[in-house]
């Protein structure tokens, strides 16, 4: 690794080795520092120390909810007589998100190393990577990397003579966005339809096959090796307090250079878009920025300078989410875009909660007629009522995510809807 031990110098963590060719091969990864610190962790660290370092690091889950990882790990009950499972969430289905894919296809050993360290801390014997079905190539890359790791005794029995043993299995999803929700993921991994479970009990206590289970995002787990090597304090000094470390942002939409960019937390939206992404395709100020994946509320030009942190984006009225930034310039048809997202959520709702099943259906039908020039004046009220009745009344957060685009459209661009409705009445 070329990561600096001086936190002020650090600009990237997970993507440190990303541009080195053939990093998916164990020999190449090892030349560049993969598994270098693993023996120290397995021989000199214990569970309490690892969990403590991760707590001190301040890292918050990179999958969307932003829950502190060290705290999540500390909730796992010990000595229950049941096995503890570690599940890596590589479902990456939130529209706009495409960061985990790059870690997996370009530097799979970083994820594997992070999972061995996490598994060791949590006394895990069997760990799984649940990867979305479409990522067939990435699943193959991971499987090859895992086979090499087994052959080098980095996985399997008695890893590097440490006495610790862990198995790692890649499990492919099959095209269901809701399976990214951690309890749906567990159901799916049990061979069932991916319908979210009521919480509590939380997976940490009762998860996979009713046993203690930790579910973490790919990027979260890929950060663990650096945290343990350089220390929790080191990580806590990157970014800003309560929003520590670096974060990968997947930027798409109307920017000149879309892609994944890892930057220290606190970098501004404007800096990211102008300095990293080559600015907008048209004009100089974005019309809409969706900062954390399609389920997060929209921001407008007013918030262009917002620092990219959990706290600042929340203050601005949205969420950091998965770090998927969808940028739209003045050419975007927001009514059409909202209709498209409404279709997505209606299609992906698992259907077990009435407000979600019915609400997503309504939103799609009404958005379709508004877009198609068949709307009527009352449709704005219908949209508003339907979306306001979805949040907070369902088993999982999909319903709230489904309401976000519609509510954002009505809040920030009522005139775009009105123009469409006026055309309809002609």
């Amino acid at each position: 690794m070329t990561i600096s031990s001086d936190p002020k110098q650090v600009t990237q963590i997970c993507f440190d080795r990303i541009n080195i060719p053939n990093q998916n091969k164990l020999s190449v990864a090892r030349e560049n520092g993969a598994y270098e610190f693993l023996p120290t962790v397995l021989n000199d660290f214990d569970s309490a120390k690892i969990i403590n370092e991760v707590k001190t690091s301040g890292i918050r889950g990179r999958g969307g909810a932003g829950f502190p990882t060290g705290l999540k790990w500390s909730f796992v009950p010990r000595n229950t007589g049941k096995p503890t499972y570690l599940l890596c969430n590589a479902d990456e289905g939130e529209p706009g998100t495409f960061k985990d894919r790059d870690i997996m296809r370009f530097d799979p050993h970083l994820l594997i190393e992070g999972m061995i360290m996490a598994g060791f801390a949590l006394d895990v014997r069997d760990a799984y990577i649940y990867i979305r079905g479409e990522f067939l190539h990435e699943a193959n890359v991971l499987n090859e990397a895992i086979a090499e790791a087994y052959a080098a005794n980095l996985l399997g029995e008695n890893i590097l003579g440490s006495g610790y043993s862990m198995n790692l299995t890649v499990h492919r999803g099959a095209g269901a966005y809701v399976c990214g929700e951690e309890t749906a993921l567990i159901e799916s991994l049990e061979g069932k339809p991916g319908r979210p479970r009521f919480k509590p009990p939380f997976p940490a206590v009762e998860g996979f096959y009713r046993c203690p289970t930790v579910v973490n995002n790919v990027e979260t787990l890929a950060t663990v090796p650096a945290i343990l090597k350089f220390g929790g304090e080191w990580h806590a000094s990157i970014g800003i307090p309560n929003n520590t470390g670096c974060k990968i942002f997947s930027v798409s939409g109307h920017v000149n250079k879309p892609g994944n960019y890892e930057v220290p937390m606190g970098t501004s939206l404007k800096t990211l878009i102008e300095d990293y992404c080559g600015g907008l395709q048209h004009g100089s100020v974005p019309k809409v920025i969706i900062p954390g994946g399609s389920s997060t509320p929209w921001l407008t030009a007013e918030h262009y300078d917002t620092p990219l942190t959990y706290d600042d984006l929340m203050k601005a009225g949205s969420f950091l989410g998965s770090g998927a930034i969808i940028v739209m310039d003045e050419t975007a048809d927001l009514v059409a875009l909202t209709r498209r997202l409404a279709h997505f959520y209606a299609h992906e709702s698992c259907g077990q909660c009435t407000p979600c099943r019915e609400g997503t259906g309504w939103l799609e039908r009404v958005m379709k007629r508004v877009e198609g020039g068949k709307g009527c004046a009352g449709d704005v009220t219908v949209l508003k009522d339907a979306s306001e009745h979805m949040a907070g009344r369902t088993i999982c957060a999909l319903a709230e995510g489904a309401a976000a685009p519609v509510l954002s459209l009505l809040k920030h661009f009522p005139e775009d809807v009105q123009t469409r409705l006026a055309e309809s009445s002609k």
Binding site: P95, G96, T97, G175, G191, S250, S252, R340, L341
Partner: protein
């Protein structure tokens, strides 16, 4: 395909026996086994589902509800080449609908249909998790990023010229 022709090979059955050991319970092996069936038989017929239920010791209902819940499991044959055009946000903002229309025009079919020669099926799909390369088209699960009408026409022409031989 009749019930007796839908059988996994001995090698597959051995592979499944190994796979089951990786999980706390055999039902967890259902999705990977469904993928095997799809690979071996092209799609997952009712007979295949019955056979899988037997192999894993599950009830048919347990197999059926999984097959129908997940969009990537196909109960009907699709064209030899499955063209999946992502039209979600990032791709839509970069011309995915125009691309999809163009491809339908080239193929002479509507969205969701299969060409009469059975070579192509075109479908609209959700975010493929590759929006940095929008618009994205998956061709039999291989990602084609920054796809254009010209690049897709070239692909279609190539497949037609080869008569669908991979």
């Amino acid at each position: 395909m009749s019930a007796d022709t839908v059988r996994f090979s001995e090698e597959r059955l051995a592979e499944i026996a190994e796979l089951v050991k990786r999980y706390p319970g055999p039902q967890s092996a259902l999705m990977p086994v469904l993928y095997m069936a799809q690979e071996d038989f092209g799609y997952i017929s009712m007979d295949a589902q019955k056979m899988i239920a037997e192999v894993l010791g599950l009830r048919l209902m347990q197999v059926r509800e999984v097959v129908t819940f997940y969009t990537m499991f196909k109960e009907q044959p699709t064209g030899k080449y499955l063209l999946e055009v992502c039209t979600n946000a990032g791709c839509m903002l970069n011309g995915a609908y125009e691309l999809a229309d163009h491809m339908c025009g080239t193929l002479g079919i509507r969205m969701g249909e299969t060409t009469p020669d059975g070579l192509f099926t075109i479908a609209e799909v959700e975010c493929a998790g590759a929006c940095g390369g929008a618009p994205v088209v998956q061709v039999n699960n291989i990602y084609h990023e920054k796809a254009t009408p010209a690049s897709m026409d070239a692909l279609i022409t190539q497949v037609r010229a080869d008569g669908g031989v991979e």
